[in-house]
């Protein structure tokens, strides 16, 4: 009996792949997007340009293993959480954390996973994200 179930499941999956020349599904939005980095003087609330609803400064920058790494915010709602993602320059995530919103927070970096170099730290508050670079030297 189990064999029949297995065959049924495999048949479903196999059919989906083998019969497909292309994928004809779709939905909302479009097949085009852009994003800007830098001194944009013209930000829309569309999917073309990322808008800022809050701002953040990280310090000290550059920092060493002896420093306490902090972030200072403006425009935050203190009732919400902030998601923090630290990644290296090739996109590998080194830290994912969620903290309570506050005007200033301390970030506990995974020092043992960092080597000298430039890293990215992304803060997400509601639907808005900001990425900052920081320079780490151990």
């Amino acid at each position: 009996m189990r064999k029949i179930y297995l065959i049924a499941l495999i048949t479903f999956q196999f059919t989906a792949v083998v019969n497909a020349q292309a994928h004809y599904s779709g939905g909302a939005g479009g097949g085009y997007a852009s994003t800007a980095i830098g001194n944009s003087t013209f930000a829309f609330q569309g999917d073309s340009i990322t808008t800022k609803a809050f701002d953040v400064t990280v310090f000290p920058n550059p920092l060493t293993s002896n420093d306490v790494f902090k972030a200072k915010f403006t425009g935050l709602k203190h009732t919400e959480k902030i998601s923090i993602v630290v990644s290296d320059m090739i996109g590998s995530r080194l830290m994912v954390e969620q903290v309570d919103a506050s005007d200033e927070i301390t970030i506990n970096l995974p020092i043992d996973r960092l080597s000298k170099g430039i890293y990215l730290i992304t803060f997400q508050h509601n639907n808005h994200k900001i990425t900052r670079r920081f320079n780490y030297s151990n």
Binding site: Q21, A28, G30, G31, A33, A36, F42, G46, S87
Partner: protein
Amino acid sequence: MLKNRVALFITLLIGFLWFFLPARANNLNLANGAITGNTVTFEIGWENAWNYTENDGNHDAIWIFVKGQTASGTWIHIDVEQSSTLHHTSSPLTIETVSDGKGLFLLLQTQGFTNVVAAQVSVKTTVNLEEFRQIKIFGIEMVHIPQGSFYIGDGASVSSLADASGNPILVESEEEIDLTKITIHNPNTEFAPAELPQLLPGGFPKGTESFYVMKYEVSQLQYVDFLNTLTYTQQKNRTSLLPSSPKGTFAMVNPYQRDSLYRNGIVIHEPGVEPSKPARYAMDYNKNQQPNDNEDGLHRAANFLSWADLSAYLDWAALRPITELEFEKLSRGKSTIPVAGEFAWGTATVSNANNPTNDGTVFESVSDVPLSESGLANHGTYIATEGWGLRGVLRTGFAANESTNRLEAGATYYGVMEISGNVWEQTIMIARGGENFTRTNGDGMIDESGNANVQSWCNPSTASGVLLKGGGWQSTISDVGSWRDLAISDRFYSHLKPASRRNSVGGRGGR
């Protein structure tokens, strides 16, 4: 026994969900960009990505390119390193570089289909990005058309290409073609079709080699972003009304019929000042002075594009026009026997998309359901009491939803959308000088006037050698062999040069 039945139910449910799992959208998005030295990093996501290459299928991909605004305000194209080892991306994507370094492709590394969620991408460019005032990353979804022979002509459509007996022709290589052996079948009796030259050179892209084509027509938001990187003079030539026109002026429409938008919402958001300050463009179809809001039809196909407009966009995006032979290949598929009068979805019947739902939003679709064996397309149907019905363009990809098949989505064999209907495609013809076209891609930079400046491309001013294919929102459909603009082999308008902006003409590119 009960256990077995429960197990059977669960198994079937898993299988069912696996097969019909709702894929909500295409929703290509780029976010969280950052730069360091020569490197730009960002996140990318899109839904319904597929790779069926190990099952004799094809795949989609995103064409990524980078522009930078210099301290003086001018935008330039930024080349990327040609070695794939210098770029990085996270699972499930892989990177495909191109020999001219004008950008790169991101595609699924694994077989099957999936929704790509916030994949990390790191691209190394050839210049220090920190010297620019602003960096912008652009992404366009493309479909890969595999190598292989295919048929041109369907033995029926007006002015279609055929052999001496009037039958379709199998194109098997990129070698030159003796056009004296090719005839124009069922020639247009109202307007004399363009005469074929003696020879189609080896350099003309014939479609047997693999190539990429944009999955969708150029959207209005796409054209807005292009305009916003141009100088005042360039903008002046790429729009219908002066960039210095007042805020809220619809920029692409016929200047003498400014209220006839045909669902085009491109407006001047901040007027420019001649000659040095370019205008800022935006979408504001609903005229509420809120740019790019959720009812402005951002992803509708861009209409009112002349050949000069489309070719400039393609040069700027480091793409190229597609040829009429490639058009038939990407529609019909490799070695598929043609059906007389067939449309993009491989049958000769069509259902009209005439009743928009969620109008103007990212969910814009239609309530119309295609009849059996019919594909769904936005074309013209004259109703005496209502005129032409929906007079204008729909969202790119409007017909595809989470469970559509090829007919329901109005898709081609390879999954390219809206080849039949919505806006006319501008392709390179095998006549009127178009035969000298080669597969040279744009270099990302247009000339000071805002025109494409790639040598082998058809002249932006005359549009000689450009052929309108696939029909538009106003195209009516009659019997096979007669008026049938949406038919993929139809060449009714080979006499016409699309040098002017028309309310139903747009296009797409390839690489």
